[in-house]
Symmetry: C2
Subunit: 234 residues, 2 copies
Amino acid sequence: MSDVIAVRATSDGFPRDAGGGFARRSRILAKGEFLYRPGDALRAIYLVLDGAFKTASTGFDGVERIVGFHLPGEIIGLDGWSELRQRCMAIALADACVCQLSIDQFMWTVLGQKGMREWTRRIIGNCTRNEIEHLEMLGRRQPAARIALFLHELMLRSQHRVEAGACITLPMTREDIACFLSLAPETVSRGFKRLQTMGVISVDHRRIEIRDATKLQSFARSWHQPSMRRRRVA
Amino acid sequence: MSDVIAVRATSDGFPRDAGGGFARRSRILAKGEFLYRPGDALRAIYLVLDGAFKTASTGFDGVERIVGFHLPGEIIGLDGWSELRQRCMAIALADACVCQLSIDQFMWTVLGQKGMREWTRRIIGNCTRNEIEHLEMLGRRQPAARIALFLHELMLRSQHRVEAGACITLPMTREDIACFLSLAPETVSRGFKRLQTMGVISVDHRRIEIRDATKLQSFARSWHQPSMRRRRVA
DNA sequence: CGGCGCCTTGACTGGCTTCAAAATGCGTGG
DNA sequence: CCACGCATTTTGAAGCCAGTCAAGGCGCCG
């Protein structure tokens, strides 16, 4: 686990010293292992320390819909807050490590501490933010735009900087990306290729290099608006 | 404002008697009025008492993307929790009334009261839940399935019962629905018609009557899965 | 070395988007 | 009360593009 991750875990995650302090248990997961499954009782919230996760909700027919990806420094577990049981499943995309905080402690101890409220607001806000980002992606009509937005967002979250030369290794398969963006895997593949052909990125299996951050942004923002003429700007 | 709404506002919304009590201001909005705009400082969270709202995030080009619809008993305002400024705009779809609770009070008073934490958990959970539902809709490939799921969800939220004979008046335009579902308005229109032709619903402008709740569900659940053969059931 | 996933590539089809125009409803003002 | 204009909704026809099916390449791990 790199220093960078340790630092981020502190700045974005659980405060290092939170007043009375509370039990923190860390847990190691192998690639493919479940952190929790749909229907599990709501037990804890989890801070990703290392590795990566996906959360997916099983549809009625057992088909999985990917709700989100979670990188080091991010929180997993809010999907259970409504029903007191987990609605989604959380799966490690690679060997991973999480820090878990019991939900009881969170509700009865943490929320009662003034210093924790700011932290609470932020993690909740970030969860909402990520979901809005997801909706933003799915709203884009053209696959290339969805993919560009996906990459841009992933870069932002993984290293807080989007610039030419930046490089990222995707922790998820093309199929997962496709599911997340509601596209066919083949379309994702073709989308990557198209972006590569246009000199925006460089693709080598799961390694993606940004070659032109400006173009990436403009692709992410471009959007054949559905009936642009009619839409009021408000 | 009907009794039903008053009851729901109490059961789903602010507790009637929350210990020390806190300032509640209600606000009346005319149809089309903004509750807040993108960039506004985070001031409060809002409980919808009557009417309906839409929250939309303006894309980079000023095109609006609809993030969600909000019915009586539901909460608006979490989109500002990440950045301390509202990310979305909230607009009244009809003459409406909200109860607002200052964010400072919420953070410093409400979270400190044991009795409020359960409520807090639930509203946050419901917000997450609604967003997952939205993702679920956008994941459906066929427009008819998205529309069916949309109607089904709206029925659930507006009267907690989905059965034949149930009737609902949509507060939003076809264009809003189209934007929410990421479809063309024409496609929404044709989708409604198709569901009507098949005897699932009966459409009279914005009045929708459920004629066959079972069929509606099966439509909402049906899904030409993207590459069904490959997708693992986990 | 061989099996197995994962990823890529190609051709075809279907359905949604788009463009265009008519119909309907609603609010406004005479 | 009616006439008008605007917004919304519906309907029709045509083109495009993502999904699907199928096959081939590549890396990974046993």
